[in-house]
């Protein structure tokens, strides 16, 4: 698909006409999703686009301020842990759903008990799997019982766990919600063509406690899969904002001077997972600590960042994104040092290097650059480039000796969303280190922030010492928009439609 980029070179050459932005005139924000959203209900999709809709149309009990990182009340006004597994929340009074239904404890209890029931087949198990049940205390007080101590609960209640109206949901069912969803949020969905076209209108009666009232009257969302087509639509003024634009294309758009281009960091990090547990064979060289350290020393992350990544990406040394809670930065780091890498390989008994299978699913130029660097220290890595779904399946089933992967943590700003997901004996855990898993488990289940931090710090130090991963870099995202748009990206990469306005 590389050739798809060719016309991008030609596009700017041909652009002599001026892009007239129709959006501001009729107070409509036109945007494009690059993939089809499978279902509007956030509990039935796993896509980032779904989170964006979820935040605009529904509300969670809490809200995390993206700038300060602090939790504030949203549908709940205050909350406290009664014990390690019981969270009691007082709910806001006077909130109404888009269809006029009043919000109270019944809605919370219905939604939470509905999504944790496996029979309902929600797709977001990591987001709700920690909930045991919800119980009504009185009309505006609920208790949430967790399956075990789970301090990250607040993060999930502030993010993907949104509240549905119980009476409406019971009446129309999951399929009804798919075509005519109802929430409490700053925007109402007025039109749904599944996977294709969504229209949001401002909710004039929004209670606006944690999130502001929407600034723009209408948000019109279409699915336009191809980035080049998205750029053409931007030129035509048929869309006002595009994100995830590749660096080369963003650079060309910038040089035209007719668009605002913002490069912002995201929570996505890249890493190479090394088969330390020997899942692909006990003789796999990656089971040797010195080899893993050599691989870490062999990769020139800075060189790749400067030459290929551009933007605001930065090197990382820990197995997490620096903005996440508990992401200890003071861990063993491995500077680029090919001579040391060669020496370590010789010590490990591979003076002439070895051959190994290297898997990747995106950023082929980056993968190829790293393979070149490995070749310089004597490691002949053979690239196997696969679709994500297929590579993930292979990693779960048989493991891979070396795999260049990335992870966006579903925008959850907590180490439990990445390090715990990959080092607690799950399908993609290539280390299978009991000590690390136990430390992470302690961090995941302690309520005290200090205890959590300490446990995560120890786990991350252990991961770095044992060189289980090659932590690579954070990813940044390019936003391209018309000059009349007033929009500031946040590190969680979530676009808050209601916060966007016109200049």
């Amino acid at each position: 698909m590389k050739l798809w980029k060719l016309p991008a070179v030609l596009l700017p050459l041909c652009l002599l006409s001026t892009g007239a932005h129709a959006g501001k005139a009729d107070d409509t924000l036109n945007i494009a999703f690059s993939k089809e959203l499978e279902h509007v209900d956030p509990y039935y999709n796993t896509a980032r686009e779904g989170v964006l809709l979820g935040m605009s149309v529904w509300d969670g009990l809490l809200y995390r301020d993206p700038q300060s990182g602090k939790y504030v009340g949203n549908l709940a006004t205050d909350w406290k842990w009664l014990n390690d597994t019981t969270l009691e929340l007082n709910l806001r009074k006077g909130v109404k759903f888009h269809n006029g239904e009043a919000f109270d404890a019944d809605d919370v209890v219905f939604t939470l008990n509905y999504v944790v029931d496996p029979a309902n087949g929600t797709k977001s198990q990591p987001n709700t799997g920690w909930i045991a049940s919800a119980e009504k205390v009185d009309q505006f007080t609920v208790r949430i019982h967790t399956k075990g101590p789970f301090p990250a609960a607040l993060e999930y209640l502030a993010g993907p766990v949104i509240i549905h109206p119980n009476e409406y949901y019971a009446k129309v069912g999951q399929q009804g919600v798919a075509t005519k969803p109802v929430g409490t949020g700053p925007y109402m969905i007025t039109s749904v063509e599944p996977g294709k076209h969504f229209v949001l209108k401002r909710n004039p009666d929004y209670f606006a406690a944690a999130k502001p009232k929407a600034k723009i009257e209408t948000v019109d969302i279409r699915t336009v899969p191809d980035t080049n087509t998205q750029m053409a639509e931007l030129f035509n003024g048929d869309i006002d904002l595009a994100w995830g634009v590749p660096p080369d294309q963003a650079g060309k758009m910038k040089s035209m001077g007719k668009f605002q281009i913002i490069n912002a960091p995201t929570m996505r990090v890249g890493y190479i997972s090394l088969d330390a547990a020997g899942r692909t064979g006990e003789k796999n060289p990656m089971t040797n600590l010195k080899v893993r350290q050599a691989v870490n020393h062999a990769i020139n992350r800075k060189g790749i960042l400067e030459a290929l990544m551009k933007g605001s990406s930065e090197e990382i040394n820990s197995a997490c994104a620096p903005v996440q809670f508990g992401c200890e930065q003071k861990v063993t780091s491995y500077a680029y040092d090919p001579a040391k890498a060669k020496a370590l390989l010789a010590e490990a008994g591979y003076p002439k290097g070895f051959e190994i299978e290297f898997y990747a699913y995106r950023d082929k130029p980056l993968a190829e650059a790293m393979i070149g660097m490995l070749a310089e220290v004597g490691i002949t890595a053979k690239l196997n480039y696969m679709q994500y779904a297929a590579l993930r399946e292979k990693r779960i089933k048989d493991g891979t000796p070396m795999a260049f992967m990335t992870w966006g943590s579903n925008s959850v700003a907590d180490v439990s969303a990445i390090t715990s997901a990959f080092f607690k004996m799950g399908g993609e855990d290539d280390a299978r280190d009991k000590d690390v898993a136990a430390l992470l488990d302690k961090g995941d289940t302690s309520v005290e922030d200090a205890t959590r931090k300490e446990a995560y710090s120890k786990a991350l130090s252990e991961i770095a010492d044992k060189a289980y991963w090659v932590p690579l870099w954070t990813y940044s995202s390019n936003y391209v928009m018309g000059t009349d748009l007033d929009f500031a990206p946040t590190p969680d990469e979530l676009i808050r439609f209601y916060a966007i306005g016109w200049k």
């Binding site: 030609l10 797709k123 294709k196 279409r222 191809d226 080049n228 053409a232």
Partner: protein, 305 residues
């Protein structure tokens, strides 16, 4: 004729059955559906549970027979990814694909047949060379590139048509051209070759000797005979076009069946893939069958075969 039709029909049914069985097997070999359903960071226990609940641990033949039985009643199950009935999703998307496919075929025929006739009428002249160049270019240009160039010129620069989507009928123009142009070369060259062969036949010389006009000879006598192989080719090409073009549908954001197929493959959405493969191959089989019948009707000699 009846016997011939029945024989062809029987063969078509056998091909359909074989295709359905092979596609069913291939898809199971291509990916583990349990892993894709279980979702991100699922443990082995969850995956095994899913495998059992969905019945993937049963013998393949049992699963195939069950799937076939339901498919015959139009029930292709529920998409793992979209959580919607597969038949409903396909019903929503096929009209777009079929519209673009039909228009594209019409465009191709309108462009290719006159060009083929002209090229044959004036062989090895500048007209012939021009027609050949148009055809070769059509074969050589990748659709995604051609599509984007058309967008740059007609949408961005001239502002005549939207860059993507089908909100107005003008949105169909560029996809029709891209898809149709791709099919043009083969039809044009077959028309030219057929015409050249027919034009050298004795009966054409006789017709000319009778003093019939050039136009009458060309279109009434020659083209009718030369068109027979083109009918088969066009039918087969239409079958392909109804299968959707992933490239054209992606560039022009058409939300057709081809894009759905590509999405289902990249997400391991088994029920959708199985249904689409079956339906696409059905198109192909039905159009090939119709072409056979049409040819037999046009040319009685074929009926004996």
């Amino acid at each position: 004729m009846f016997k011939y039709i029945m024989m062809k029909l029987g063969m078509a049914a056998l091909v359909a059955l074989t295709v359905s069985f092979i596609s069913f097997l291939l898809l199971f070999m291509a990916g583990d559906p349990a892993i894709s359903i279980a979702g991100e960071s699922a443990t082995h226990e969850v995956i095994e549970k899913v495998r059992h609940e969905y019945g993937f641990d049963r013998p393949l033949l049992v699963q195939y027979v069950e799937w076939c039985g339901k498919a015959l009643t139009g029930d292709f199950g529920v998409s793992y990814y979209f959580k919607a009935p597969v038949s409903q999703m396909i019903a929503e998307r096929l009209p777009v694909t079929m519209t673009v496919g039909g228009l594209g075929m019409g465009f191709a025929l309108l462009l290719a047949i006159p060009m083929g006739v002209l090229a044959a009428a004036f062989p090895n002249t500048i007209i012939d060379r021009t027609a050949l160049t148009v055809a070769v270019v059509g074969q050589a240009i990748p659709s995604f590139w051609f599509g984007l160039i058309l967008i740059v010129i007609f949408s961005v620069q001239l502002g005549l048509v939207p860059a993507s989507g089908t909100r107005t009928w003008t949105g169909y123009i560029l996809p029709t051209i891209v898809l149709g142009y791709y099919a043009t070369p083969a039809i044009m060259r077959l028309t030219r070759a057929g015409m050249l062969e027919v034009l050298s036949a004795d009966y054409i010389r006789t017709a000319r000797a009778k003093g019939l006009g050039w136009r009458v000879v060309m279109f009434k006598h020659a083209l009718r005979n030369a068109i027979i192989p083109v009918v088969s080719l066009a039918a087969v090409q239409l079958g392909f076009m109804f299968g959707g073009s992933v490239v054209v549908e992606t560039i022009f954001a058409l939300h057709g069946a081809g894009f759905l197929a590509w999405e289902s493959i990249s997400r391991n959405d088994l029920p959708t893939m199985q249904a689409l493969i079956l339906i696409f191959s059905m198109f192909y089989i039905v159009f090939t069958f119709l072409a056979d019948i049409l040819n037999a009707w046009l040319d009685p000699r074929l009926r004996a075969a």
